[in-house]
């Protein structure tokens, strides 16, 4: 059996907003809209990535040293957790395309649970940094070479992961909204744009983390002792 099947959309006026001609146009507009929004999100994070690039080129020693203080295992486990949540999200979109709303609900709840685990581990890491005086500001202390530039690394770290976590929180809100829609059977085979587009958003936030993980946790090779 081929891995990809194609099926024409059923024509139905159910859940069609009046300013659209048909459901197909409505679905395409929604998908395009979400992609356009994600392009703006690339630029939003792009500002911080530019800053990262500039300072990493300028202060490689400090970035190397500061990155050794990151919790390697927390970062790695979080990467796995987040990719796992992307899988459950992709499966939820799949279930919504087949109109299996019960599956959608449970897969989305699994996605939210994994998202919450991610945020929990992140909070634990923030707490660790706080205890070790690695939060930039007057109490910042760094026992390595070049502490001033290490503070820039941690400033970037908190800004980047902070905005990423904010996106996760917004994502959790969006997912709980589509859980509600699916539970009330407002999602159908013909009309599942909300699931699809929240899915796109969720995968995008995952993608951002896919870059943040090596850039923040794996800057240079790990000193095995650390």
């Amino acid at each position: 059996m081929s891995t990809v099947e194609t099926r024409p959309n059923a024509v139905s006026t159910h859940s069609l907003h009046e300013h659209f001609g048909d459901l197909e146009q409505q679905r395409e507009a929604a998908t395009l809209g979400m992609w356009v929004f994600l392009a703006t999100e690339i630029m939003f994070f792009g500002g911080m990535f530019t800053a990262y690039l500039v300072y990493r080129m300028a202060y490689p020693v400090a970035f190397d040293a500061a990155s050794q203080d990151m919790n390697f295992w927390a970062g790695t486990i979080n990467t796995i957790v987040l990719i796992g949540s992307s899988l459950t999200m992709a499966l939820a979109v799949h279930a919504s395309q087949e109109g299996k709303n019960k599956h959608v609900v449970w897969l989305l709840i699994a996605t939210m649970a994994l998202g919450a685990v991610f945020l929990g581990i992140k909070a634990f890491e923030y707490h660790e940094h706080w205890v070790h005086h690695l939060v930039p500001g007057p109490y910042f202390q760094f026992e390595g070479p070049d502490p001033r530039h290490a503070e820039i690394f941690f400033s970037l770290y908190f800004a980047m992961t902070g905005f990423h976590a904010l996106h996760m929180v917004i994502g959790l809100g969006l997912v709980s909204w589509i859980v509600y829609l699916a539970a009330r059977n407002k999602i159908t085979r013909e009309y599942h744009s909300p699931v699809e587009n929240v899915g796109l958003y969720w995968h995008f936030v995952d993608m951002v983390w896919i870059y943040l993980y090596p850039l923040l946790y794996l800057v240079a090779h790990k000193h095995v002792s650390g």
């Binding site: 990809v4 992609w35 392009a39 690339i42 992307s86 899988l87 896919i210 870059y211 850039l215 794996l218």
Partner: protein
């Protein structure tokens, strides 16, 4: 126009591939590659991101050409930001005059 439904198996295969790349990138960080470590790390991350975009985000199956254009131009503009900013930082200390 039609909508494409991807088989569930593909999602599991992609998930598995993403896991493998995650393990590789974590393992590579224990090897000293010098200046290449950053290149390798970003290269692996980009491969992972591409897999997510193509399969999880259905870019590979999307029937709207414009969606491709949007996705590519997002990264293209990021490239503009990187490259033109780099023209300054890469050449700022070519002259030995302070601040030039």
């Amino acid at each position: 126009m039609a909508e494409t439904i991807v088989s569930r198996r593909i999602y599991f295969i992609i998930f598995f591939a993403l896991m493998v790349f995650t393990v590789i990138t974590a393992a590579v960080s224990y090897i000293d590659l010098g200046a290449w470590s950053g290149v390798v790390a970003v290269g692996i991350a980009s491969t992972k991101a591409l897999l997510v975009a193509l399969f999880f985000m259905h870019l590979r199956y999307d029937h709207q050409k414009i969606v491709w254009i949007v996705a590519i131009s997002g990264f293209f503009w990021l490239g503009i930001l990187f490259v033109l900013t780099a023209t300054d930082y890469a050449t700022r200390n070519f002259l030995t005059v302070p601040g030039r």
